[in-house]
């Protein structure tokens, strides 16, 4: 146990850079960074407030049909699903791709101790994801329903245990995936394909179960009678999507009786049980998946070079763009977080509408036929949002990491840096646009107009977003990392860029909303395009100055 604790301590310290923060806080420049970070977090507050407001409306809706426990289930379910999906990504890089493994593996430690320590450290990380989601649900339920003191005491259990089951499950899945894809030569490809399949299968299963249950509830003859007599009806039925979430919700909504107590016990018991099973399994499979991973493979001259390979000449910006794209595609963590996001998000967006059945599609068609431009507007908005979510721009310098010296000692103009790096972001965006257009076509709602506007406005807006991200990243690049995951997912620049980007997009969206119906749609499109072009140019000027300045003063 002592070993696990000391491993956890070291892991938390390196993950969150506690010692580095202490050291850094003394310098003026870093204090500025803290202030900017606080501003960025504050700028997220309006959106967060809107979400919380929406949630309290949701509580009212459930309350009115006598199913307020459903509100808690929604909270627990969303939190656990998000922890699960993020978990798969985090677990993969934390268990298998972090550099400390080279140090840990030769030490006389058992794999369950390594996995246990990494799990706990990930748990702490996951609280940062889970708390902002689950807390509003618990607080709104408690305050609006005037729940007693026991409720608040009970609420500690789901808050603490919420990430355990999804994280343990994702650990098990990843460990098995890594063991069985550990095939020489093809493992990176297999793992990426495996990851995508996993997500798609998991989502399909979720939606299928959901729609089956929904249909079964709706088709029950005495539904209204049951609603009145059983205040946990929805939870019991819909909770089957992910039973642990149901136990969590029922433990809290029945805090005043034995059912609540028993469900609490069940929730805790199963959490600990799955955690122990995961540890047991780690003894059997962890090293099998890992060992091949640590072998970088020795250079054996298998990569053939043709004489023409020596004669490929490109303009500087294109050389940078191509280098960026190659590194992006060949590093699994980057690939999943950039191209993975732009592929999955549009599919996720379309899937519920498809799974919702004919009824849903009819409603959607009605809304769309009222304003056919909605598809183009929402589509291009989504592409622009992906432009910041793909993390390519806002981590472009951070991803250089210890190789950053190369960029700083060779003669590259800031202009070429910008063009090349924006190009790599646009490459990812083009994939996103294709998937989105494909998804819209799949729903049978595509028109030539929407293809044109989504592509043009989407790309123009993506340039602005990529530049905005690069501005954030060059201001405080995170270069000192040992695991590519840190450059992309644990990089605060992503959060800062996302919040600034969201504000920008909200602003443009608000303007469009105000203009809708007041002028010809073509004018509105031109205005949006104009805004993107002008802001891209403005960001470009700023970025050029920032790159020239930062390349000189960074240490």
């Amino acid at each position: 146990m002592n070993r696990i604790l000391s491993l956890v301590k070291i892991d938390l310290n390196t993950t969150f850079g506690l010692s580095a923060i202490q050291y850094k806080f003394r310098s003026k420049q870093d204090r500025w960074q803290t202030i900017i970070l606080i501003i960025a977090i504050l700028s997220l507050l309006p959106s967060y407030y809107m979400i919380v407001y929406g949630l309290s409306e949701m509580y009212e809706a459930y309350f009115n049909i006598g199913q307020k426990s459903m509100f808690l289930l929604t909270g627990v379910l969303i939190t656990q699903l998000i922890v699960f999906f993020f978990g798969i990504l985090y677990v993969m890089s934390k268990y298998y791709f972090s550099n400390d493994l080279n140090v840990l593996v030769p030490l006389p430690i058992r794999s369950r101790e390594i996995v246990g320590a990494k799990f706990i450290s990930l748990m702490v990380n996951e609280y940062l994801t889970s708390l902002p989601i689950i807390l509003p649900f618990i607080v709104i339920y408690g305050v609006k329903g005037n729940e007693g003191i026991l409720y608040w005491v009970y609420s500690i259990i789901p808050i603490l245990f919420i990430p355990v089951i999804p994280l343990a499950l994702s650990s098990v899945i990843v460990m098995l995936l890594m063991k069985y894809t550990n095939i020489k030569g093809k493992k990176d490809l297999l793992r990426i394909v495996g990851y995508f399949l996993l997500i798609i299968i998991a989502l399909t299963v979720q939606f299928e179960i959901q729609s089956v249950i929904q249909n079964s509830i709706m088709s029950e003859e005495d539904l209204f009678l049951q609603l009145i007599t059983d205040s946990n009806l929805f939870v019991r039925k819909l909770g089957m999507i992910f039973p642990p979430s149901m136990w969590g919700a029922l433990s809290l909504s029945n805090y005043f009786n034995v059912t609540g107590f028993l469900h609490s016990l069940l929730f805790i018991g199963v959490s600990i049980g799955i955690f122990l099973i995961m540890l047991y399994l780690s003894e059997k499979v962890f090293f099998d998946g890992l060992i091949g991973n640590l072998e970088v493979g020795t250079s054996n001259g298998s990569g053939k070079v043709k004489s023409t390979d020596f004669r490929k000449k490109l303009p500087v910006f294109l050389a940078i763009g191509l280098k960026e794209i190659k590194v992006l595609i060949r590093t699994p963590v980057y690939l999943l977080n950039s191209i993975g996001v732009v592929v999955l998000v549009p599919i996720l967006f379309v899937m519920p509408t498809y799974m919702g059945g004919d009824h849903f599609m009819k409603q959607l068609n009605m809304i769309i036929s009222g304003n056919p431009n909605l598809i183009s507007l929402i589509g291009s908005g989504m592409i622009i949002l992906l432009g910041i979510m793909n993390c390519v721009g806002c981590t472009t310098f951070s991803r250089e990491g210890r190789n950053f010296w190369i960029q700083r000692t060779i003669p590259i103009r800031a202009k070429d840096q910008i063009f090349g790096r924006v190009l790599s972001s646009l490459f990812v965006q083009l994939i996103g646009i294709s998937v989105l257009l494909g998804s819209i076509a799949y729903m049978g709602m595509i028109t030539i107009d929407s293809i044109f506007w989504i592509s043009i406005l989407g790309l123009l807006g993506s340039i602005a977003m990529a530049e905005l991200g690069m501005l954030v990243d060059i201001f405080r690049p995170l270069l000192d990392w040992d695991n590519p995951q840190k450059a992309m997912k644990q990089n605060l620049n992503v959060l800062i860029a996302m919040s600034v980007g969201a504000l920008y997009l909200l602003g443009v969206g608000f303007l469009v909303y105000k203009l809708l119906g007041k002028m010809n749609m073509l004018f509105i499109y031109c205005i949006i395009g104009g805004i993107f072009i002008i802001s891209s140019f403005g960001f470009y000027i700023l970025l050029r100055r920032m790159i020239e300045r930062q390349f000189l003063i960074l240490e």
Binding site: S307, F310, K313, P315, L322, P411
Partner: protein, 242 residues
Amino acid sequence: MLKLQNISKTYSKGKVKAVDDISLHINPGEIFGFLGPNGAGKTTTINMMVGLLKPDSGNIYIDGIDIWQNPVQAKKQISFVPDTPEIYDKLKGIEYLNFIADVYDIPKDVRQERMEKYLGIFNLKNVVGDIIGSYSHGMKQKLSLISALIHEPKLFILDEPMVGLDPKSSFQLKEIMRQRCDEEKTVFFSTHVLEVAEKLCDRIAIINKGKIIALGTMEELRSHAVEKESLENIFLELTENE
């Protein structure tokens, strides 16, 4: 070719003087050795010369161009090989070399000829199609050297270049350094291997605690030292007295 004018650099808010008012003037066609114990300020000085670290005061000119005023122009004249070869692990050797050649705008024919020449010298021809991540430390070091030689820089700056190289490659590198000087190009390198400095360098500077404590040809250094036999003795005498 390279002129350092009163450069200083401090860390920890001025408490630690890493480099203290250094001035150097290195001529075209010269091999210049930069010696000093660990933590003396060698890498800090080199980092300031190549644009990685801004000096607190002083100027650095490369072929008359101030590297901090006109960085892109100055960097076209130099190439740099750091002590640890951190190169893009996910690129193939050939891709990295082409990337560097693109940045320096080397024509197709010229780059092919130079790449083949240096890949042959450093025995990397067979593995240049492999991912850099699969290279050994020494192979990465050699690739870093080849990429630095591809544009035939006027000033070749190397930080501890012999570390990690096998004896043959080390010998080849020394030959290349000599040839460059014969072509009136300049080489500046730091090293711990005193024999290399003694045999190869036209002039040597010894830095300790951020200050240059000795500068000149081997003969000049000998004339100032009590123990005159080898550079090792001179080095030990000077750095211990400090």
